[in-house]
Symmetry: C2
Subunit: 195 residues, 2 copies
DNA sequence: ATTTATTTTGACATTTTTGTCAAATTGATT
DNA sequence: AATCAATTTGACAAAAATGTCAAAATAAAT
């Protein structure tokens, strides 16, 4: 019994990810995906059964990505500041490579009632929150609900990428200039978050 | 020649705005909109000619909203700190009321190549940037490219609302708890932005 | 070379979504 | 009440998107 495994399934999934997560074309159809992958549309059904199942798989893998990254930070035992720096690096790289990942995820959650993987909370966030609390007591970061620190962190990292088309017009600057701004984000975020 | 002006046109537009900007259902069809407005779908064509023109009108009015708000701040002559406080108030209220406005706008810009209204830059942002520079010299806010201050501001205001479905799952909290967090954002943002 | 299971592909069917048109309705005006 | 234009509505047409199926092609294994 031969197992051929041509790369078609992976190719289709990668093309879908490019279209949704990188280019942000949330209204793309199975036809768009198949055409740009250079395979007939029926292959989508052969490998994924239906449009929704392809979407759900892209969603789940994006979610896995996010979860793994988060947990890497939560579970590492670096000093707090380095831990956050590390986290910013990882997430900025991700946001840069897949600017519309969160947009896609939120949209799919709304439209198809997709749930995050696993029953349990995807991230063991409690330890991190406790650590943040300690840092606040030490005066390293401003005192508020620790969840705000996490929300601030994500906002400052993610939003500039997903809203790029807007800012480019508001500031009347081209892609290259905006890209330059994005590359400066790490230092900016650190300066903002730590007192 | 009688001009009746029943409220149907406005009703359709409001329904579309609710679905897109408030509920974030970016894949909604003209049928969804008409059904929820309680009118036959042909009314959409009677008043807006086509689906795209309805979408474009919602987009343009959302853009106008954003522009007007921004310019109010840019053109007011309050002291800097009050100006920013004022701006945060206005934008948080808006983000709270229409959490998916930016998401819709970015998506439409990507999918239909919508442009922002007017040829010129929608916001007279140069004055604001200069003012931010002055504040940085005074040491009121950390020193970086002034555009980062604006980007930080928008990120901290907008992202928490549009990513609500994600955070509710990550933190494993319900809508009420998350709402409480959102209401605390103004103070948090001010604390973060000003040294 | 034949067999076998996997993969690819095109033809077709179904469903969904959008758009068109003309008839019916409405309510103000003459 | 008759007129008239704006509005509403349903029937129909067209287009777009998804899904099904069986036949053809492929490549490994006997």
């Amino acid at each position: 019994m031969p197992a051929k495994n041509t790369g078609t399934e992976a190719l289709l999934k990668e093309t879908a990810k490019r279209i949704f997560l990188i280019e942000g074309r949330l209204h793309a159809t199975t036809d768009d995906i198949a055409k740009e992958a250079g395979v007939p549309r029926t292959s989508v059904h052969y490998y994924f059964r239906s449009r929704d199942l392809l979407f759900k798989q892209v969603f789940n893998e994006a979610m896995m990505d996010l979860t793994v990254r988060l947990n890497q930070v939560v579970e590492s035992d670096l000093p707090f500041r380095e831990k956050i720096e590390n986290f910013i690096d990882i997430c900025l790289t991700q946001a840069f490579a897949f600017p519309y990942m969160e947009t896609f995820m939120v949209t799919e959650m709304i439209n198809h009632e997709f749930k995050l993987v696993d029953k349990e909370s995807p991230v063991k966030i409690k330890g991190l929150l406790k650590e943040i609390k300690t840092e606040m007591a030490h005066g390293t970061i401003p005192q508020t609900n620790p969840m705000h620190f996490v929300i601030n962190l994500f906002s400052l990292i993610t939003y500039p990428s997903l809203a790029a088309p807007l800012y480019k017009q508001i500031f009347a600057i081209n892609s290259a200039s905006y890209l330059k701004l994005l590359k400066e984000r790490k230092q900016v975020i650190l300066k903002v978050l730590f007192t």
